[in-house]
């Protein structure tokens, strides 16, 4: 979700990571948010979402990046996961052809669940595994062009292109939001009216509601 709050400008963008199990979604997130990599290949446990501050054109933007918590393993990602996301990184592993073949299904699920993603990037992760590559850069680029996505190959392990990938998505969201503000739909603002919070305080991660879709 993204909201341009009244008074001081404050942006919060929900971005989701999707793709098959073990393509490195969690490590992309931890590399971007905490500059960490966990080589334990165990399925995602304990990962929530990370909120990261990014500056674009002098504006401070909160990117709230969600990981699947492992629910994609048996195709059980909730529709709520996609709710209000304005950005998505659709990830495959360049050393496993099957994960690339799944991309169209992930794009289909994303489109079915959410029509408000304005920035979508195809990410070929684990580009450090060049010697066992099964998906060429050209194939990735070609699919991205066909589907109208940004494209980048990354390595969460050695941090190649990770920061850049997220920043491109965030910037694209920002550019679209800026355009939309000029054509604002007052109905969207209604979503914030009368919302109540069950918890309070600095520790709360609760963000504002979706206002772009």
């Amino acid at each position: 979700m993204a909201e341009n709050g009244e008074g001081g400008e404050e942006y919060l963008f929900k971005i989701v990571l999707i793709g098959d199990s073990a393509v490195g979604k969690s490590n992309l997130l931890s590399r971007f948010a905490r500059n960490e990599f966990d080589s334990n290949s165990k399925a995602t446990i304990g990962v929530e979402f990370q909120t990261q501050l990014v500056e674009i054109d002098g504006k401070e933007i909160k990117a709230q990046i969600w990981d699947t918590a492992g629910q994609e393993r048996f195709r059980a990602v909730t529709s709520a996961y996609y709710r209000g996301a304005v950005g998505a990184l659709v990830v495959y592993d360049i050393s496993r052809r099957g994960t690339f073949d799944s991309i169209k299904r992930w794009l289909q699920e994303l489109t079915t669940q959410n029509d408000s993603t304005v920035a979508r990037m195809l990410v070929g992760n684990k580009c450090d595994l060049e010697n066992i590559r099964e998906v060429s850069t050209e194939e990735g680029k070609s699919l991205a062009e066909e589907e109208g996505l940004f494209f980048m190959e990354t390595s969460a392990l050695d941090a190649t292109n990770v920061q850049t990938a997220f920043e491109i998505v965030i910037r694209e969201i920002y550019n679209n939001i800026s355009r939309k503000v000029l054509n604002s739909d007052s109905y969207k603002a209604e979503l914030s009216v009368n919302r109540v919070s069950l918890v309070n305080g600095a520790g709360s991660k609760q963000g504002p509601s979706c206002c772009s879709r």
Partner: protein, 444 residues
């Protein structure tokens, strides 16, 4: 599958998802499966195409109703008491971070052929035609007694042991008339029939306190809150909690068959030729039909409309209680309405539900008093379903079956069932006495 788990949970209804979340947080290895390709089971929210498939047998809703995705139509409509048990569970588990809530605009009661707002503050109470002036004074004394009542402080009891004194006896002490008693019992204590009058008064007093506390919580027009995008968000939020703590999720698993050893103790679940072993099974009644018994039926109408319910001051979210005595029935009837302001329909559309404990086989006729209050409807659907409760002995077979959702307007009985099941499964009791005052927040 083909693995070993501590607990296998079948069905992704709200009860099952809360339990899955709690058990995973406790460190148990949980596998959670559902035969459907969506979350929520009987407590899901459907989009328009899903609604049409279920009730009309095709997937072609008329285009003028708008995008299918914009609809989130609850199959088990209830509002959340703002100070109730479900809120406590949400805070206890920190699942609030996945959800957004809005206050419900109003709570109304049907009385003598008219719809009246249940007063939300002293000013409304003074103006309300539900009671005459002298009756209001007597009722006020009763309300003050209830407000001051503290179970652990005998000075507040005024010499009455509410674990013995019946509700009828308590109310008689304040000289209230039958109409007022009906209002208090059904619109404030939210009883669905009149059995409470002959039962100890403590339960009713507690319910009235819950209503007042919930009303005060966000100082809105009603004691209720409701999630954006509908109630289907709740099971999904708890499922994410479970997954974050290691729970494994599988949807679209047909024929989840529970397997037992020669002693009748559960050993696993088989689906699509694979068996997962486990020590315990938790499920909704539909997964173990041989271990449940029918205890009632719910009749429901679901309506899509293009206007608020008349006489509710243009409320975009509202509950109307039709007490049994007003209708000459055995149980109350409930109207529940939400709209595009809660993101459960496209702009300009409202979703209304009429629910009651079924007393006939003809929901369209039985629900007419409620449907008549809706005004013109664009589309209407009828449903009638059985309610079940478990009859097995969990200590013998290690199967823990939830009770079906009832027709009540809120989730208190739902959470009670969950907490009881949790204690049966783990032997532990959850302490839900979170400091709600610290958790209170002003409207954003």
């Amino acid at each position: 599958m083909d693995e070993e788990y501590d607990v296998i949970v079948l069905g992704t209804g709200l009860k099952e998802c809360i339990l899955s979340g709690l058990l995973s947080v406790d460190g148990l290895k949980v596998l959670h499966m559902d035969r459907n390709d969506y979350y929520g089971g009987e407590s899901t929210s459907l989009n328009l195409i899903q609604l049409w498939k279920r009730f009309r047998g095709d997937d072609k809703p008329p285009p003028h109703l708008g995008a299918s995705r914009d609809y989130n139509i609850d199959m088990n409509p209830k509002f959340i008491m703002a100070n109730g048990n479900l809120v406590r569970v949400l805070i206890h588990t920190d699942v609030t971070k996945y959800l957004y809530f809005k206050a419900v605009d109003g709570s109304y009661v049907f009385n003598k052929g008219k719809v009246h707002k249940v007063p939300a503050n002293d000013m409304e109470a003074l103006k309300s035609p539900l009671m005459g002036l002298f009756e209001k004074r007597r009722a006020r004394k009763f309300f003050i007694y209830v407000q001051n009542y503290n179970e652990s402080d005998p000075k507040t009891h005024e010499g009455m042991d509410l674990t013995r004194v019946t509700t009828k006896e308590l109310i008689a002490k304040y000289g209230l008339d039958d109409n007022t008693i009906d209002f208090i019992g059904h619109a404030l204590a939210l009883h669905s029939d009149d059995r409470y009058l002959a039962e100890p008064a403590l339960d009713t007093v507690k319910r009235m306190k819950l209503y007042a506390e919930s009303l005060a919580r966000f100082q809105g027009g009603s004691p209720y809150i409701y999630p954006l995008y509908g109630l289907g968000e709740l099971p999904q939020a708890f499922a994410r909690l479970s997954a974050v703590y290691g729970g494994t999720y599988m949807l679209n698993k047909p024929e989840c068959k529970v397997e037992f050893d020669e002693e009748g103790k559960v050993v696993g679940v088989t689906s699509e030729g694979e068996t997962a072993k486990c020590k315990k099974v938790v499920c909704d009644p539909s997964y173990l039909p041989g271990k449940v018994r029918k205890v009632g039926r719910v009749a429901r109408a679901i309506a899509i409309m293009s206007h608020p319910i008349p006489s509710t001051d243009d409320s975009h979210s509202v509950q109307i209680i039709l007490p049994q005595k007003q209708l000459g029935r055995k149980s109350d009837m409930y109207l529940f309405c939400c709209s595009y302001t809660h993101n459960v329909a496209p702009k300009g559309k409202f979703i209304a539900f009429v629910s009651t404990e079924a007393e006939t086989d003809q929901p369209a006729i039985e629900l007419k008093p409620g449907i008549d209050l809706l005004g013109p409807v664009d589309e209407i659907f009828f449903d009638i379903y059985d309610r079940y409760e478990p009859v097995n002995e969990p200590t013998l077979d290690n199967c823990f079956i939830s009770t079906s959702y009832d027709a009540t307007t809120h989730f208190e009985s739902t959470v009670d069932d969950v907490l009881n099941m949790y204690t049966l499964i783990t032997g532990k009791v959850i302490d839900l006495s979170v400091d709600l005052s610290a958790a209170s927040a002003a409207e954003e």
